[in-house]
């Protein structure tokens, strides 16, 4: 496959490209997804916990 003798290594080549494409698609689909925690909440966060030992 693709001139690569081992099928396993041909898959390593293909999966590397597919993984990069997957990252691009994921990033594009989630481009504006800021998640549940935003800047406004961050501004309210001033608490820092104690360390006990």
């Amino acid at each position: 496959m693709l001139g690569i003798a081992s099928t396993e290594l041909a898959w390593a080549y293909i999966l590397s490209i597919l993984a990069a494409i997957f990252c691009v698609i994921y990033g594009a689909v989630k481009w504006n997804d800021a998640g549940p925690y935003t800047e406004e909440l961050q501004a309210l966060d001033e608490w820092a916990p104690e360390q006990k030992d």
Partner: protein, 532 residues
């Protein structure tokens, strides 16, 4: 030579301007340690990638690909899927949210506050401060040797010059300066690597034609590699042979998984203000990493065909038997002259981006985690203490660079990756996902994982134990495993990555000890989880 010097100066002008921009925007501790938690996604992703990929990843692992061939592409797959996607989506988002909830400024501080333990923060800071200068020295020595060859500068002068340049902008500008310069350096690296792979495939007549030519070259594979278990560059290695173990446990598994617990990378998740930046970072990071390790490994392997056609020798022979010279020799002898100059700059960029982050994380570990928190030495100005920490890290790295031979230093990357994975990964992962993880479980995993990995590196894994020499000094052999029956599983341990043993040990300690020790207060767990 004049063109090289002008281009190098132009590059340095841009680096210093970005460093100055970082310094101007740095006012308080969160700016210095976390870039104000408001970093641009492109800058975050490029900085993450450029820190991840050092000169040794391109030159060293590219050379390894020239020896071992396409099996290294599994590392590229892991670099992208684990090092970018899993890291940013499953580790990064929770790290950022928990980091804000706990007001953590560094990776050890995140762990320390998650487990309400100054010991965890101090010990993690100590491990990072002690070992990251050795890892940084490996990068520093490599780039100083390139400066010596490329620009004709004396090695010691190059070492001092490079250190001075980095010291100026890392000490003054903190993480903002580091990340701005990283993004520029990463962009330069990206362009050069794309040109490299396009040129190589074009020279060999296309993708399939190039791979087929490499497949057909298998009969010319060096006898030593065949004896070690390799069948060809696109044929792979026989299962269970020493080279199979080196490729799949040390290179693919050790580096591919070890990246998840690298403090200089994990801290970048806390530099952005929302998940949006991490989502966009996945896009930029995926493209960047395939252009780095993907290209380095493919071109490294294919260089055998081009060298063979031009000189009648495969890559390792054409480079005089030195694996680290394969990519530089390819660039010098095969690529056009103009590319050689720019590639040299790209390698400077790769080294500088990794070194600046290593200095910064070493400095924050010493100043913030070990001195200020671990030793409870409060009262000073945090930014000043951290700047002193960065300066000390730079000085220690310089001393390592001046006194240690390259043969020992070259093992530093594997050493640092191994120790970080065993010591930090279980408590980091379980700390993000398991409410039942206890302080005692975290300490057992941290100390147990560190000690197991350290013992394995000193006494079992021959590559490191032979270079360090402690095993030989005490027991008279390079590895405790080498006297076992040849081919037995004990004998094969000397070729097996430490984390095949140390990482499961660390995970087991974390889970078992947590099951039998008191839980953290519910109120604290709720605070940790309030934004997850």
């Amino acid at each position: 030579m004049a063109v090289k010097i002008i281009l190098a100066l132009a590059y340095l002008v841009v680096v210093f301007w970005l460093g100055y921009k970082g310094w101007r925007e740095t006012r308080e501790a969160s700016d210095y340690m976390l870039a104000g938690r408001k970093m641009n996604p492109f800058v975050m992703a490029m900085s993450y990638g450029a820190t991840f990929i050092s000169t040794s990843a391109i030159i060293g692992f590219g050379g390894a690909a020239a020896l071992f061939g396409f099996p290294l592409l599994w590392l590229t797959f892991l670099n992208i899927f684990v090092g970018i996607f899993i890291a940013m989506v499953f580790f990064g988002k929770r790290t950022r949210r928990m980091g804000v909830s706990l007001d953590a400024h560094t990776f050890p501080e995140l762990l320390g506050r998650r487990y309400q333990s100054r010991f965890v923060q101090g010990f993690a800071g100590l491990v990072i401060f002690l070992f990251i200068p050795v890892y940084a020295a490996a990068v520093l020595i490599g780039i100083s040797r390139m400066l010596e060859v490329g620009l004709g500068i004396d090695y010691t002068t190059a070492l001092l010059l490079f250190t001075a340049i980095l010291a100026v902008y890392v000490i003054t500008g903190g993480l903002k300066a580091v990340m701005y310069t990283d993004a520029f350096q990463g962009s330069l690296m990206f362009v050069m690597m794309v040109i490299l792979v396009v040129f190589t495939y074009a020279k060999l007549g296309g993708i399939t034609e190039a791979h087929q030519a490499l497949t057909d070259l298998a009969p010319h594979m060096p006898a030593k590699l065949k004896a070690g278990g390799l069948m060809g560059w696109t044929q792979g290695a026989r299962f269970g042979t020493p080279l199979w173990l080196v490729i799949y446990t040390t290179i693919v598994y050790g580096v591919g998984i070890g990246v998840l617990a690298q403090p200089q990378l994990a801290v970048r998740f806390m530099t952005v203000k929302s998940d949006r930046e991490l989502n966009r970072g996945v896009l930029f990071g995926g493209i960047f990493i395939i252009a780095m390790t993907g290209v380095a490994f493919v071109v490294g392997a294919l260089s055998n065909v081009i060298f063979f056609r031009q000189t009648g020798k495969v890559a390792i022979a054409a480079a005089g038997g030195n694996m680290d010279k394969i990519i530089p020799t390819y660039v010098t002898d095969i690529m056009p002259d103009w590319f050689g100059i720019l590639f040299l700059l790209a390698m400077f960029a790769a080294a500088m981006s990794t070194l600046s982050s290593q200095y910064h994380v070493g400095g924050t570990s010493l100043g913030r985690d070990l001195y200020e928190k671990g030793l409870d030495a409060s009262g000073g100005n945090t930014v000043t203490i951290t700047r002193v920490g960065v300066a000390v890290t730079i000085l220690v790295t310089l001393i390592w660079g001046l006194v240690l031979p390259g043969s020992v230093i070259a093992r530093a990357t594997a050493f640092f990756f191994g120790l970080c994975a065993a010591a930090f990964l279980p408590m980091y992962l379980l700390g993000l996902y398991w409410k039942g993880m206890t302080r005692a479980g975290a300490i057992a995993s941290l100390v147990g994982g560190f000690c197991t990995s350290f013992f394995y590196l000193l006494f079992v894994h021959t590559k490191e134990s032979a270079a360090i020499g402690l095993c030989k000094a005490i027991f008279g052999v390079d590895s405790l495993a080498m006297n076992a029956a040849k081919g037995s599983w004990v004998w094969l341990l000397q070729y097996t990555d430490p984390n095949i043993i140390a990482l499961p040990v660390s995970f087991i300690l974390a889970v078992v000890v947590s099951l039998f020790t008191p839980k953290l207060e519910e109120a604290h767990i709720q605070r940790c989880w309030r934004h997850l």
